[in-house]
Amino acid sequence: MNPEEQPSSKKTLWIGLGIFFFLLLAGGLVWYFWGGGNTGGVTKLFPFSPSSGEDVPQTDTDRHEIGGDSNGDSGLVAADRLFRQLSLKPVAGAYALKRDGEQYVRFIEKETGHAYEIPLAGGVAEQLTNTTIPRIAIADWALGGNAVLLRYLEEDRYTGRETIKTHLARLNLSSALSSDDVGGLTLDFLPDNIVALSVSPDGKSLFYIIKKDGAAVGSVVNVATKATKEVFRSPFTEWLPQFLNNGSILLSTKPSGAVPGYSYVYDPKTKALNRLVREKDGLTALANASGSRVLYGENVAGNAILNSYDPKGFPGDEGTVFYENIIPINTLPEKCAWLSDNMRVLCGAFNLTPTGLIPDLWYQGRISFNDTFWLANTTSGDVTYLSDPKEETGQTFDVANPLLSEDGAYFIFTNKKDGMLWSMRLPQQVGPETSDTIPEGLSPEELKDAQGSLQAPQ
């Protein structure tokens, strides 16, 4: 090498090394401030790298982590995404709570009966309990998420006869939340063959129905003390109960699309049975927590029509009062969740009612819906289009068991197509002061167009 070239090459080398270390330092700073850090024990070195959607399980067998921050899309963190998958296995029931200032969801895995908890803003799910009970069909939460009713079928191996088993399970979480330990469940049995069950909104009581001597016998249980009292008896047995905050119970007849149904409010103290809704084909109903308003669905000429009922009435023109108000979206009340104002609901709604008996075909699993998400005002009947999950995630949802997070910022639901638990971050317009309204009388497709959606509905 020419001696005059040596200084030049050294200079180049130093420049190259300088650039290299600079990039290394910059990368380190980025990782430190915005990287994964220690999320539940899994340290993410490249937090923005796409993943397959599954976190690598911990080798520590005491913890099984699912969920995670990345779902295989562009690498957006959980807080930025509209939809987020919360579970990787089918879920029996979920509960939203606030703990240490953060929003969480607890859920029960169907296959194992294990309880998990996942933060809604981001992070992986943590296993809370390791008491294994397979084949959980339904999980109803109580006592602020510290107790859960686990319901499953026990089959006689010789006769094939099935018995409905119900556990009242208390979560033993003294150390699980603050360490890597996993707690367990303390189990109490409720009677066999409970045909219907509802937990009160405050989680302190539950109401269940069993059949005895051809009658429906309803009892209220104090979840904390397990004190049980029979409060209801009826020769008619096909009831679907919903326990309300004031201690009364909404009792609706089991629906079929071509059979008139009825909804009542039963007061266990006075034994009064007050009819709210009468003779609606395919009637399904969902009251707000206080019972001041009921969302109900009925079949009218093959269409699933959603209505709201208020026993005090809605003010009409010229001083008239009417008691029922049509909500112009096609859905079933059980695909909706009431907001805390007890006036608005968030729903997964389908565009067209399929042919056949609704809700029978849906309950039998013969049809599945592809829902879009809507906000509805049960007073005015106004509806607001929120989102189409097909556009956001590339997949479709059939909303079941919906609920809202404790702060009302997330809509949490099970996708009936595969049993997975999902959350949808709610846009600001859902807040009480910014609700958008659009003209009444438009079909869901027209409403979607009014919102500027580019994709034709399914």
Binding site: T159, S234, P235, T253, S256, D360, Q364
Partner: protein, 326 residues
């Protein structure tokens, strides 16, 4: 003269016996009806009058509700009013003056009454199924009347019930007899069921409601029965279903077959796999399929279920399970 006396006598006799009867008959033939037939408390209701003896279309009719005039005019045959709460009565008076000037007064006591006629079929649906069990051929349906005349907490045992099933009156009646068993007919044939409820201590308190109960055909649906998930009732297997496993258990659910026959083992399950009849184990409602080798494989499964006691309760179905390549 004698003949004229006879005619006069006959005419007077007819007049004495029939004119009052016609007048009385006119009063009896003024009837009231309400829409709805059994209005609840504090509900708007239309009250109407009908008559076969008086031409109401040419009569001046005046309505009073609790002694207050609310409507007055020719052919004013109905009014809109509202019931009060349970235990309270609205007194409706109607004054009818026909074209000939004859006047008729009629009173009607409007009080709320709710009679709901609920029914349930003793047919099978799977545990946790939220829908209604539907009736099928010769299944038994239990009807229950829920009346409320004076309060929402009325004791149903205090009322008198008369049941008419399939137009046969007096099928069941009695004090506190608030339920009836109804044998169903063929699928598609409605069974009209009426219950008349009255307070035995109050004359004219009887009200009726009717429901037409329709039988359907039973149906069999297939579901996956997974070892840890249990039976996946959320998703019925229709047409074809794909699996990545090497075994797959198909569970058949016989919707709306009579429960008593199921409990007594009177349902006959005939399974077929790829066209050949297969034997099942102790529990006939499921069939386990297995895959031979690692290549893709399809198994076509068929099933018919026959109720030996109620022979028109029969259903069948088929599904194809595709095992993927390993």
């Amino acid at each position: 003269m004698k003949s004229r006396n006879i005619i006069l006598g006959v005419t007077m006799t007819i007049g004495i016996f029939f004119v009052p009867n016609i007048a009385l008959g006119a009063l009896d033939l003024v009837t009231f009806s309400t829409n709805p037939q059994t209005p609840g408390p504090n509900q708007p209701v239309t009250v109407s009058i009908q008559s076969y003896a008086i031409d109401l279309n040419s009569s001046r009719i005046t309505w009073y509700v609790d002694k207050e005039a609310v409507a007055d005019g020719v052919a004013e045959k109905s009014i809109r009013t509202e019931t009060k709460g349970f235990g309270k009565t609205v007194t409706i008076n109607v004054v009818i003056v026909d074209a000939g000037g004859a006047r008729f007064d009629k009173e009607f006591l409007l009080h709320p009454i709710e009679i709901d006629l609920l029914w349930e079929a003793d047919t099978y649906t799977p545990p946790f199924y939220k829908g209604k069990a539907l009736p099928t051929y010769k299944s038994v349906v239990k009807a229950t009347a829920i009346p409320r005349m004076y309060s929402t907490a009325d004791d149903p045992a205090l009322f008198f019930y008369e049941w008419t099933i399939n137009r046969i009156q007096g099928v069941g009646k009695g004090l506190g007899k608030g339920g009836a068993l109804i044998p169903m007919k063929y699928a598609g044939s409605p069974v009209p069921t009426t219950v008349k409820v009255s307070d035995p201590n109050v004359e004219g308190s009887a009200r009726s409601v009717t429901q037409n109960i329709l039988a359907v055909e039973p149906t069999v649906l297939f579901y996956e029965q997974a070892p840890l998930l249990g039976t996946v009732f959320d998703r019925a297997l229709t047409g074809t279903a794909n699996t990545e496993g090497t075994t797959f258990r198909v569970r058949a659910t016989p919707y709306f077959f009579s429960n008593d026959n199921m409990a007594n083992g009177e349902l006959v399950y005939t399974w077929q796999k790829d066209g050949a009849t297969v034997a099942v184990g102790l529990n006939p409602n499921s069939l386990e399929l297995g895959k031979a080798g690692t290549a893709t494989q399809s198994s076509k499964v068929g099933l018919t279920i026959q109720n030996r006691s109620r022979i028109l309760q029969k259903a069948g179905g088929q599904v194809t399970i595709n095992f993927s390549q390993e």
